[in-house]
């Protein structure tokens, strides 16, 4: 999965959790939880949906790496290239 794919995947997953989210207009380096007003349940659902869609199982200690759009895209694109 390249970064474009990872980004569209993020857009799709976020759309299920917070339909009003506009990924294009968001700061890619800002905390998604803050920008999109996601609570811890939303974030857990995001990680759970990611697992269901891609099989990528994110350990809890890696959660901080997925907090921003950029971080999420990087993590997912590299994890899908070399499954941990």
């Amino acid at each position: 999965m390249n970064t474009d794919d990872a980004r569209s995947l993020l857009e799709e997953l976020l759309g299920r959790i917070a339909p009003e989210v506009d990924l294009a207009g968001a700061d890619p380096t800002a905390s998604m939880q803050e920008s999109f007003d996601l609570d811890s349940m939303d974030f857990l659902n995001l990680v759970t949906e990611l697992h269901e869609e891609t099989g990528i199982e994110v350990p809890e200690r890696d959660y901080p790496k997925l907090r921003t759009i950029e971080g999420f895209v990087d993590y997912v694109s590299s994890a899908s290239r070399s499954p941990a």
């Binding site: 917070a18 339909p19 009003e20 939880q33 803050e34 007003d37 996601l38 609570d39 811890s40 349940m41 857990l44 659902n45 990680v47 759970t48 990611l50 697992h51 199982e57 994110v58 350990p59 809890e60 200690r61």
Partner: protein
């Protein structure tokens, strides 16, 4: 058995709009079945029926906005259908046993807060609904009188009845076990109600105290077709009315403490490291469970105020859920104190999802006995809450933060959480609230036992 009325889905609801019927005349329904979708100012609620029976007639068209207490449908007894050969003979034992349990669990005089008067009994716990597995049971009549001659009634109903010179035994109570509630006094006291407590009963006008005087059924479906903006305004209005009432009527007191969340954090990290994504637990679940257990132990903080403290037979934990775009609802997780952490996590996930998609059930709206407001990891460090009437307490948890913390004369960095309790001073004192928080603290130091 008889009329199925517009339930009060929280103290802030005066009217509701039937959006859709999920049953038709002739359908057999069981306690806990969803029979209609009702629109309130806050959200669309799946309304459950609270008795077994046969739907005889729908009395309100979809789109009609009616006051709380308005008869929505006539529901006949299953036994009548059984006699006609359309249903198997009812093995009555389970229902009777249940009725006995309920009667024993609730101290006499049995009371419930007014806003819950038309609400169905609580749903089965655990999120899994067992209604299909439950055998058909004989209909349970709801006589206000008891074999010992004492009429079940709330204190407020007793006082009002005495003032008005009404004999309580001539009333048909709408509370649990047929208890007469204050709102029932507004209904006619004709003997027909008592002598024929079946589908034939027909009360002319639902004069429910609290319903807007002169409010009539309006066919206009404005509420159900309102846009998101209108919904926002209506939600704001409902919150404004309820919170204003709370601050007007409830003498709040507050106590607060900072709790070391280190043991819970370590335990959660360890658990979650061994669990798949879908089975992981959130800190919120640990906080909710500790609160539910503590609420069971501490006196006068779990329950209702209805002209006196009313102790419920269970802990139905209201959970404040903020909605996208603003506003919040605080539906109940039933019997939260009896769920294990996995069960509670599932219930919380399900509740939040349904709260945000507008698919809460009537019992969840009417049953909370104490509410938790948990700000989560995006929130402030402390929240001093406003109590949801007729409840008498609200527990607040702030964001879990790392702070210097002294243990055994040494300073270390620990995750800590600020816990607060807003109490109704009519029902409890600061000492009771402090005891609740102390118990929550103690329970959180042994998370494996939760």
């Amino acid at each position: 058995m008889g009329e199925f009325r517009m339930p009060s889905l929280g103290a802030d609801m005066d009217v509701g709009t039937v959006v859709e019927w999920r049953v038709r005349p002739g359908d057999e329904v069981h306690r806990g079945d969803i029979v209609a979708l009702v629109d309130t100012e806050k959200s669309t609620i799946e309304v459950e029926v609270f008795e077994d029976g046969i739907v005889e007639e729908l009395l309100v068209e979809p789109g009609a906005e009616v006051p709380v207490g308005t008869p929505l449908a006539r529901i006949g007894a299953v036994a009548e259908a059984a006699a006609a050969g359309t249903a198997p003979a009812p093995p009555a034992a389970p229902a009777e046993a249940e009725a006995v349990r309920e009667a024993e669990a609730v101290p006499e005089p049995e009371t419930v807060p007014e806003p819950s008067r038309a609400a169905p009994p609580r749903a089965p716990s655990g999120g899994k609904r067992r209604r299909r597995a439950k055998p058909l049971a004989a209909p349970q009549p709801a006589p206000a009188g008891r074999s010992d001659g004492r009429v079940r009634a709330s204190p407020l109903a007793r006082r009002r009845a005495a003032d008005a010179g009404i004999d309580l035994s001539t009333l048909r109570g709408s509370g649990p076990g047929g208890a007469v509630l204050a709102a029932d006094l507004a209904a006619p006291t004709d003997a027909d109600v008592q002598s024929a407590p079946t589908a034939e009963e027909h009360r002319p006008e639902p004069a429910v105290s609290g319903a807007a005087p002169g409010a009539e059924a309006e066919p206009g479906a404005e509420g159900s077709t309102a846009g998101a903006k209108d919904r926002q305004a209506a939600m704001r209005h409902a919150i404004a009315a309820l919170m204003a009432r709370s601050k007007r009527e409830i003498p709040h007191y507050y106590v607060a403490t900072t709790i070391d969340f280190g043991a819970a954090r370590t335990w959660l990290d360890d658990q979650n490291a061994r669990r798949g994504v879908g089975e992981r637990l959130l800190p919120a679940v640990v906080l909710l469970k500790a609160t539910a257990l503590a609420a069971r132990e501490a006196p006068h903080v779990n329950g209702f105020w209805d002209d006196g403290f009313q102790e419920p037979p269970a802990v139905h934990l209201g959970v404040a859920v903020s909605l996208r775009g603003g506003g919040l609802v605080a539906p109940a997780i039933h019997d939260a104190d009896r769920m294990d952490l996995d069960g509670l996590m599932g219930a919380l996930r399900d509740l939040v999802e349904r709260a945000r998609s507008g698919r809460l059930r009537s019992s969840e709206m009417s049953d909370p006995t104490i509410t938790v407001s948990n700000l989560g990891d995006q929130g402030a460090e402390e929240v001093l809450g406003v109590i949801y009437p007729p409840q008498v307490g609200l527990v607040g948890f702030g964001r879990i933060v790392e702070r210097p913390w002294a243990v055994d004369g040494m300073i270390g960095v620990r995750p800590v959480v600020r816990a607060t309790f807003a109490g109704d001073h009519r029902a409890s004192d600061g000492h009771d609230g402090a005891r609740l928080l102390t118990t929550i603290d103690r329970l959180l130091q042994a998370p494996e036992a939760l």
